[in-house]
Symmetry: C2
Subunit: 113 residues, 2 copies
DNA sequence: CCACCTCTTTGACGATTGTCAAGGTGGTGC
DNA sequence: GCACCACCTTGACAATCGTCAAAGAGGTGG
């Protein structure tokens, strides 16, 4: 893990754009793709996107993916650091919510057809 | 690595589609994302997309990313196994070429906005 | 205050990954 | 045949990753 800070925004589309991709763009896109490249994290994102309230807390997410809470917390943090999730504390619970634009930015960077 | 065979095709869009994503879809998409989630492999794909002939061989790609030929061969194999690259032997050289549709399929699976 | 609940951090562990050196395969040309 | 070139495979290594148990941090309610 490079840093605990959020990653900088994804600088416009990058793959196959006539000008060779610069190393920082490759590194940044790779970090984001790595954050998405895990079945558990995909399942968590998918659940948060399809569930009625569009948000959920760790104690509900852990049984959903059948993993311990610390492990789920770790996955959520990874997604959050890339801007794919936001979190909000309300009372005792912490509610996570997807940031669709951050995910679409990655999808857009891959679009090449 | 699960298998030396090609992965099956990506079964239509998967993320945030009102029906919860099934485990196989999550696993399959994660494998493809993992194959893309490396700066070297992104650089290789980008080069093959922007270079005039749209194809190149290992001996040209290795110096491009400043890695040994075996290492580049390993990366190319990983991309090939997910259908992102095709290879074709002509004479002594092996020419690699991008399959844009395979990459777009992943981009489409991520599109969620 | 204390008991309790939710969540995160830390430390450890095995599994996976990216890399290279060494050796093997396949094709070219003398 | 042999020498050579491009490429791939194998085996090893350090680094990273996913996981959990244990302990800490933050908030609720008696």
């Amino acid at each position: 893990m490079v840093s605990t800070e959020f990653l900088p925004g994804l600088a416009s589309p990058v793959l196959g754009r006539s000008v060779p991709m610069d190393p920082d763009a490759a590194h940044g896109l790779a970090l984001r793709l790595k954050a998405l490249a895990d079945p558990v994290r995909l399942k968590l994102l998918d659940h948060l996107l399809v569930c009625p309230s569009q948000e959920d807390c760790t104690c509900n997410l852990a049984p959903l993916v059948q993993l311990s809470e610390p492990t789920v917390s770790h996955h959520l943090k990874k997604l959050q650091r890339c801007g794919f999730l936001t979190k909000e504390r309300r009372g005792m619970s912490v509610y996570y919510r997807v940031s669709p634009r951050a995910i679409d930015a990655v999808a857009g960077a891959l679009r090449v057809g």
